[in-house]
Symmetry: C2
Subunit: 397 residues, 2 copies
């Protein structure tokens, strides 16, 4: 299961919540396993998961009739499903013999609500939650919906809960770690595929095509594809262009796709020809910063201490004036999960967190360097999710 149920329930007790409602694509999938495509590819379509606290009822998915096939075809651990809106599919029990079609037929027979909000109100009402304290993931609703909900559930206390979901998602389950490990390694293979076409005159776009081709070959979807050469490697969000590879160029990758809904975000550096002394020194310093952070990270450590140690290491090892807002962040079904590794954070590292540890450094007009690894926090320290090291790769022109 993706959901860290114990952590969710503990937080609900702490906040005295009788139920929570997931509304964003990430939280709906996280809570139920249900990937509601329309809300993932556009803003507007609504799907929810209502999750009462233990003993206060059964969890329930609320989604449009037009998405019930995805409910039927996916591995979902929430059994109750409530639908809204019309969608026409012909179906007869004599034809619908396979389990997915059978389940879809069954789902289509349920009572149909007029719209998403009415279905949500009905779900909360049927669960006896009209006077309850309910945490609502406020980010996925459309403007005005929260007020409509308050009007239709006047005796309930509706509290914003995006922060709760972010807190719960910060500590990953085994299934999540397996998915993150897989997608991290897909990103590494995709970098290797891109470097395989890095020859004189190849463009950033040539490398990007090779990168994404490997990503889709491995059943992942392209998301982040910053690939830059030379002076363009210093552009933090560099989008591949027709800039051609030249001897002496730094090549910076800050990349990662999505596989089974989970994200990768890693960075690697290559040079086309021997690197300058300065590039070597700076890269070594940045790598040392990541290594130092990884040495330090274990359950109970303050995130702010990790930040300080990483930045101090980079400064000592070669970039005296190094400055960063953060040296990493959680990653999961969202590309930026908690915690954020900043100087001012009061968060504490916990077992099961999956983190991107990164020390980018940009010299405008010259080059950008970056090491970014994905790691999982174990009881006694970090375990890398990577198959490759952050060492600089030197390509022969």
């Amino acid at each position: 299961m993706l959901l860290n149920k114990d952590r969710l329930h503990a937080r609900m007790v702490e906040l005295q919540l009788d139920a929570v409602v997931a509304t964003t694509p990430e939280n709906v999938t996280y809570m139920s396993g249900f990937w509601a495509m329309p809300q993932w590819i556009r803003r507007g379509p609504q799907a929810y998961v209502v999750w009462p606290s233990p003993g206060k009822g059964e969890p329930e998915i609320v989604t449009s009739t037009a998405t019930l096939d995805l409910v039927a075809d996916q591995q979902i651990w929430v059994e109750r499903v409530r639908r809204y809106g019309a969608f026409h599919v012909d179906g007869h029990p004599d034809d619908a013999k396979d389990p997915v079609s059978q389940r879809l037929l069954e789902l289509q027979e349920a009572l149909n609500h007029s719209d998403a909000l009415s279905a949500l109100v009905a779900a909360l009402t049927d669960a006896g939650l009209t006077r309850a304290r309910i945490g609502i993931d406020e980010i996925g609703l459309m403007p005005g919906q929260i007020d409509m909900l308050k009007e239709r559930l006047p005796d309930a206390s509706l509290l914003p809960a995006a922060g709760l979901f972010r807190h719960v998602r910060a500590v990953k389950t085994d299934e999540e770690i397996a998915r993150l490990s897989k997608v991290a390694q897909i990103a590494e293979r995709s970098i290797a595929a891109a470097l395989a076409v890095a020859r004189k005159g190849a463009s950033e776009l040539d490398l990007a095509r090779a990168f994404h081709a490997q990503t889709v070959q491995d059943d992942a979807f392209p998301v982040l594809g910053c690939i830059g050469f030379g002076e363009r490697s210093a552009l933090m969000n560099v989008q591949p262009s027709d800039r051609k590879l030249r001897q002496g160029d730094v090549i910076r990758f800050d990349v990662g796709g999505r596989c089974r809904h989970y994200r990768a975000d890693i960075a690697r550096i290559a040079t086309f020809g021997e690197p300058s002394e300065e590039v070597l020194r700076c890269h070594r310093a940045l790598l040392a910063g990541v290594e130092r952070a990884c040495e330090l990270i274990r359950p109970g450590v303050r995130v702010a201490d990790v930040f300080e140690a990483a930045v101090e290491t980079v400064r000592r090892e070669g970039i005296g004036h190094y400055r960063r807002n953060h040296v990493g962040h959680g990653i999961g079904i969202d590309g930026y999960d908690a915690p954020s590794l900043t100087a001012t954070s009061d968060e504490i590292i916990e077992t099961g967190m999956v983190l991107c540890i990164e020390t980018p450094y940009y010299q405008l007009g010259r080059w950008g360097l970056q090491v970014e690894d994905m790691v999982v926090v174990q009881v006694d320290g970090v375990e890398r999710l990577m198959a490759t090291s952050g060492d600089l790769t030197v390509l022969s022109p």
Copy 2:
């Protein structure tokens, strides 16, 4: 330019607006050319475009310091840029010699606001809009931000404007039509690439990999990839599985990527071996429905009449009980632009609209059939953006 400036200004006059503010990723890119990656790949990061009515000031982009490289590197027609938040990039004029680095250096020297909303308030204030009627694209803001904005601009009238942007985007500019035409044909080539690997024992996933590989080869990003065999072709949002291709299977594609931010959404049907009489008849009826809609569509025609004609045609030509909520929709930088081709719409077809015309039909447990073409409305009728017809493709096992 992507923006249909005349249509925007006409609507602003009609609604007596002194300015509009774009907030969603789609509308920010549409209004300025600026693709603010973080808001495209996650929910939360904020970028805006403030667009005063003609004579009332200059348009302005509001975005985070961490995205200024994208401003510098993209073809953007809004010159003013206001930034917020810290991001560290080393830069010296002696090094930043290329135009992109130079521009980034210049952008980084501008006054830095503490957060997105403060920057937006400052932009509106500096434009003399504190007592103005301002249309705000309410969907891209985070919960609570609209109330904060009202508090900080107590004399302004802030009106929801997502509908205005949807209205303006419905009639495409030449640049948009060129992009939509390109991405439609990428989808067609990707279907051809998928069919090239359709042999006995190939899986839906095998076809999906070939499909997406072609899409990324053509510099597009995978978005919609519904590819189903046999009974799975009847699942409306079918996600590719390891289901193997068998003789007699229908293969349904409902697919399309994103290229230069513009979306494709097309559908095609193949059969693996000779189709049954019933499949042939139903497919012919669905194709006739699309053809009839295309014959009828021209400027001034009621969308509801197109709906009725398409459904009636499908019924007359072979599926007597055919039912649909819509027979198509606009497409552009969003996958569902206006208009929606429904029975109850009061919208009128206009020159320059780009539409997906579709007549899907699903028989649960048996097969799903669908024809979906992308067309642009010209003065005297529709022009197809497709290189292929909606005819059924018969593959020899």
